[in-house]
Amino acid sequence: MSDLLERLRHYIGVLPATFMIVVFMLAPLTIIFVYSFLTPGDYGGVKFEFSTEAYTQLLFQKNLFDEVEFDTSYLTIAFRSIWVATVAVLGSLALGFPAAYYIAQQPESRRNTLLLLITIPFWTNLLIRTYCWILVLRDTGLINNLLIGLGLTDEPITMLYTEGAIALGLVYTYVPFMVLPIYAALERLDKRLIEASRDLYANRWTTLRHVTLPLASPGIVAGAILVFIPALGAFIAPDLLGGGKKLMLGSLVQLQFSAARDWPFGSALTMVIMSVVLICLLLFAVNQRRNEGGFQH
């Protein structure tokens, strides 16, 4: 007994933090899992009757005659989320790769300054950063004022409340997650490999394609996953830049727990998001392991 106490004594340090996360994060996630198999209560909450309704609701709806039929409305939202998140990943890559590549070439002090400049916006308020884009994109916003002022267009172009605006907002929010891992991969890259490639008469672009990109790919994969996960569950960008009309998974979940008061369905949606996240994290782990075991110099 005293032996057990003695051993537990060592764990006192990790206990408070572990307790907080287990009780207020793991336990709630378990409850969400349980709730996804229950029946919705009348005013939010749940009734303790087993039901798989929440999951069938994802794909099937009862019509007027109480017949179950295939319904794609939620599937559309899921695909829209995946689509918008994918566009956000590609956008971040297109903008983030050249930036990471350029920064990795700079002298050390300048590199550190540029990296700091990338991380600063990340630490500022997400809501405010997204709100800034309303000022830029709306009909009387900066871009439209500029275009009309230059006489390029008479009517304002609708940019706000589109899927493009959501994707733009997500790129803006999460592009640092793309740049930093790519930078980390490129910074470790041995310059001599590029010299060797150029010596062998490969031009700059061939070298980029056949030498740099393959060596940077673990960073690119890591960045893609780090952007994809939060973009998929995003709530603020779809809400503010999509006007709450182009629903995405994140906003749909939020809706179930507030106005719609269907907690089991909200829980089922949360489980769907969590399974996608788990798959992504698994891919991430595999990617990391392969990277560690792979090419070293």
Partner: protein, 264 residues
């Protein structure tokens, strides 16, 4: 004309311009927000002269004052708890050889970073409702403390890794007991990491919107929640003014965090 042989062998045409665009993309929207918070009229897109009236309006607004007070209390208390817990965990995991499954503990501490915020938000709401916990801003403080732990933990852990353990061994050799070594050697050396982590925890809590929105009960409005309400009803210069203040606090806190993290 620069001959291509003078350039870095890794140079690629156009990449410097894309990088410039990248930084403009990151900062222009924020700069626009700040500029128009000083505009003389209600317009948020046409510049009509310098004025501080929106700041005066925002600061004298009772709702904003009480939201700011709530935000500061929540951020201060959550920072205190999460930093203390993170420091204890970092020291235990970094220095105590008797602890098994360190990777599992380390992974658990970073769990809040890996789950999309909306999931954390609804899970916490569900849990508080299930156990009937209704402590007003206490609920928000609990949720923020959990979410802030990894942000406080990472800089502290990084600092501890960079510390030479032989200093602590030397103290122990000179008959200092565990507690004295911790108080006189480990903690003072770790202090910059602790401050760095605390700064990050503070801004994460101060800026959090999604978790707070789901968990907050009526009467516990924070600044981001208040701003969200205003943004939903339309663009006003007051929003720009309040947002600029919040933005300024975040930037100062990050820079301080960086400064502590780099301190020798």
């Amino acid at each position: 004309m620069i001959r291509s042989s003078d350039r870095d062998i890794r140079w690629l045409p156009g990449f410097n311009w894309i990088t410039l665009c990248f930084f403009l993309f990151l900062y222009l929207p924020l700069i626009i927000l700040v500029i128009f918070s000083f505009n003389a009229t209600r317009s948020a897109t046409v510049w009509e002269g310098f004025s501080l009236q929106w700041y005066a309006k925002a600061f004298s607004n009772d709702d904003i004052q009480s939201a700011a007070k709530n935000s500061l209390i929540i951020a201060a208390v959550s920072t205190l708890f999460s930093t203390v817990f993170a420091t204890m965990a970092a020291i235990a995991l970094g220095r105590n050889r008797e602890i098994k499954h360190k990777t599992a503990f380390g992974g658990l501490l970073l769990l809040p970073l890996m789950i999309p915020e909306i999931v954390t938000a609804v899970a916490t709401l569900t849990f508080f409702t299930a156990i009937n916990l209704s402590w007003g801003i206490g609920n928000i403080i609990i949720a923020h403390t959990v979410f802030c732990i990894p942000f406080a933990y990472l800089p502290i852990q990084a600092r501890l890794r960079g510390l030479d353990a032989s200093l602590e061994t030397a103290a122990r050799d000179l008959y200092s007991d565990r507690k004295t070594t911790l108080r006189l050697i480990t903690l003072p050396l770790l202090a910059p990491g602790i401050f760095s982590g605390a700064m990050l925890a503070f801004i994460i809590s101060l800026d959090d919107f999604i978790i707070t929105m789901m968990v907050a009960e009526a009467g516990s409005t924070t600044l981001p929640i208040y701003i969200y309400g205003l943004v939903r009803t339309g663009v006003t210069p007051e929003v720009n003014a309040v947002s600029t203040v919040l933005l300024g606090i975040s930037v100062i806190a990050v820079l301080m965090s960086q400064w502590f993290a780099k301190k020798q």
